[in-house]
């Protein structure tokens, strides 16, 4: 690790603007654990249908919706916004502005999520994927999001440098685009719903846009910032980065129709998706080229980011391959699609965000992570957990898909044949949950040290990037 980045290690901007960011990260990690509990329950129910079935709140359909919602809007949104604000603040070269807006927005955002999850548990879920939160919390979410976003946009527009950097584009795009997206989706699906199959078509577009216009940009904003900071090298092939950015934005949202292959929708929708899936690979290739330095580096942040980068890339390739009718014939409607989604959201987005969090938190608190062994534990559990999760789901899905196409196999038999793999999924969810508890506890302990120590800063003692990051190899 070079010493070139040492001078910028803990800046005044970090210390003065840390509370909004830490609040977002704390909320995100809290929801990550909560969503892990829901996901664990849901995964148990897949092999043991009676598990918690007497309790209406935790019937399988609702637990699944709770897990998904708390993952996307709780974990990924909070953590992604935290990282985006931090990156924009640092790149802006000044203390984060509108901090009260960001803090208030965060509180209301999480209040909205909490109310909405209560609504889902008590039967108010909308039954739209990624848009399960009941109608009555949706406007609150839009307003709260804008309040948080203002801080980031101000940091961008008030930046001290003339030029912009890839992290800028991705962060600003995510901050700016999500409210439009959410308003469009909730208007057409919840407030004045369109008719018939237009609903699933629009929901498919929304799900994909949440990924392409919001979560992926948030995660990439962090990765583009952190990787060169640690490696101390300019990004290779950076000249393609702008085109890769626009490719994701313009083409990414068109890939959503791949889930509707063979469905009761106009045929051009899945056909367009198939073409778009291949075109958008350009984005993924460039990102992989740009950030490939992460693969050679050591340390916790880079390990998470490398894993995330590979998963992000592999997910896109799998999406492209399964967008062909012949492949979809087997994988559609099976656990295989779940595997793909987990690969993208957990393996890709979440690991990238976690990598950035491991880098950012010590700089925000001015001291290293509280426990190195917790960091190492989380690292192993997260990687093994995701491997096992995605792998078992994929195998289960493939078995399910081939058995489904044989009309003689009963559902009981399919359940029997997939059962070992579904048990492995539960084990994987267990690993992930424990790992996530480790980082949550570690985070809270690190932050409470600062909270309680008050203004006393230990910045001087931890200027070396290596110590900041807990070198755990």
């Amino acid at each position: 690790m070079s010493s070139t980045s040492t001078h910028a290690e803990v800046t005044a901007a970090d210390t003065a603007g840390r509370w909004p960011v830490l609040l977002l990260l704390a909320s995100g990690l809290g929801w990550l654990v909560i969503s892990g509990i829901f996901a664990l329950i849901a995964s148990i129910q897949l092999h043991s249908p009676t598990f918690m079935s007497a309790c209406e709140w935790f019937t399988h359909g609702r637990v699944g919706a709770l897990a998904e919602t708390s993952f996307v809007y709780g974990w990924a949104a909070n953590a992604g916004l935290g990282i985006a604000l931090w990156v924009l603040g640092r790149l802006g070269g000044a203390t984060l502005r509108a901090q009260n807006w960001a803090m208030t927005g965060t509180l209301f955002w999480n209040l909205g999520i909490t109310l909405g999850l209560g609504g889902i548990a008590t039967g108010e879920a909308t039954s739209f994927a990624f848009l399960e939160l009941p109608r009555y919390v949706q406007p609150l979410l839009v307003v709260a999001y804008i309040a948080i976003g203002i801080s980031g946009i101000l940091a961008w527009s008030g930046r001290r440098t003339e030029g912009t950097y890839a992290s800028h584009w991705y962060a600003v795009a995510a901050l700016f685009l999500f409210p439009w997206l959410l308003i469009a989706a909730q208007t057409m699906l919840l407030w004045s719903p369109v008719r018939g199959v237009l609903q699933p078509i629009i929901d498919g577009w929304y799900v994909q846009s949440v990924f392409s216009l919001w979560l992926a940009p948030l995660a990439l904003a962090g990765a583009y910032y952190v990787v060169p900071k640690i490696t101390g090298q300019a990004l290779p092939s950076y000249e393609f980065a702008p085109l890769a950015f626009w490719t994701l934005l313009f083409v990414g949202t068109m890939t959503g129709g791949r889930h509707l292959i063979g469905g009761p929708v106009p045929a051009w929708i899945p056909t367009l998706a198939n073409a778009a899936c291949w075109m958008v690979l350009f984005h993924f290739i460039v990102v992989a080229l740009n950030l490939r330095g992460a693969l050679t580096g050591g340390g916790t942040s880079l390990t998470f980011i490398s894993f995330g980068l590979l998963a992000y890339f592999a997910g896109a390739v799998l999406d492209a391959v399964t967008s062909f009718r012949g492949v979809a014939l087997v994988t559609q409607f099976t656990y295989f699609t779940t595997a793909q989604q987990q690969l993208a959201l957990y393996g890709g987005i979440s690991m990238l965000l976690l990598g950035s969090i491991y880098f950012a938190v010590p700089r925000l608190t001015g001291r290293p992570w509280n426990s190195g062994s917790f960091v190492r534990g989380h690292r192993v559990l997260a990687m093994v957990g995701i491997f096992l999760l995605v792998g078992s789901l994929a195998v289960a899905g493939w078995i399910q898909g081939t058995e489904l196409s044989n009309a003689k196999t009963t559902f009981g038999e399919i359940a029997g044949r997939t059962r070992p793999w579904l048990l492995a999924v539960t084990v994987a969810q267990g690993f992930l949950l424990v790992g996530n508890i480790l980082i949550l506890v570690n985070f809270l302990r690190s932050v409470s040290d600062v909270w309680c120590a008050g203004a006393v800063s230990q910045v001087g003692a931890f200027r070396q990037p290596t110590t900041m990051e807990v070198h755990a190899s």
């Binding site: 359909g61 008719r195 018939g196 313009f250 009761p264 014939l329 559902f411």
Partner: protein, 218 residues
């Protein structure tokens, strides 16, 4: 473009508008005004509006998240085993769903497709479905293969005679008590029984060659 804030935002907005206009709006233009199909031969139009009780049942289906495991979309006979499994003779088309408040297309088949469940052979009667939803045991089987939904039922004492729709077989398990479907269970069952996309529209016909002459679908 990357440096100039104004153009950058225009670019972002364009990306959003293109995605939005490209899929939701275009699709809306194409099938947003799809009307029922009037069949001269039968002097009625299809699809028929589901009865109110079934429409309410769809809300129960949605709020319990049955869609997590069940699709309601049949693929064409040469694409997958849908027809061979008896889920429907023709592929589902957009027109099938125009009267559904919240179509439950679904994207997982952990259980069977239910698009035509109301006309499935042999049909389960309301009592049979109730039993199945309460216990999670498919008729004839021993093991629980389905999530049970006991909270859709009332466990209450028998006063006088047992309720007519009390679950058979469970009535005398505990003396003087009966398991009775709640209002929600009844609407859900009515909904399941109403699921029927058998009518053959012109647009569904090109896929399965139909021998009958024009206008005589059935």
């Amino acid at each position: 473009m990357m440096k100039n804030g104004f153009f950058f935002f225009i670019g972002l907005l364009a990306a959003f508008l293109l995605g939005w206009g490209g899929i939701p709006l275009l699709a809306h233009k194409q099938i947003g005004a799809l009307a029922p199909f009037y069949d001269d031969g039968e002097s009625s139009s299809f699809p028929t509006r589901p009865p109110g009780v079934a429409a309410r049942g769809q809300l129960v289906y949605a709020d319990l998240g049955c869609v997590a495991c069940h699709t309601q979309q049949v693929r064409r006979p040469d694409f997958g085993s849908d027809k061979a499994r008896g889920w429907g003779d023709r592929q589902s088309v957009a027109r099938d769903y125009i009267f559904q408040g919240r179509p439950q297309l679904g994207d997982a088949r952990i259980g069977p497709d239910l698009a035509n469940w109301g006309v499935r052979k042999p049909p389960l009667d309301a009592g049979g479905i109730a039993q199945f939803l309460y216990s999670g045991v498919v008729s004839g089987a021993k093991a629980v293969t389905h999530p049970p939904f006991p909270f859709l039922f009332d466990d209450r004492p028998i006063v006088g005679e047992a309720a007519p729709d009390a679950l058979v077989g469970l009535v005398d398990k505990t003396p003087r008590r009966q398991i009775v479907p709640t209002e929600r269970a009844r609407t859900l069952i009515a909904y399941l029984q109403s699921l029927n996309n058998a009518y053959e529209y012109p647009e569904a016909r090109h896929v399965v060659p139909v021998v009958a002459k024009e206008g005589a679908h059935k």
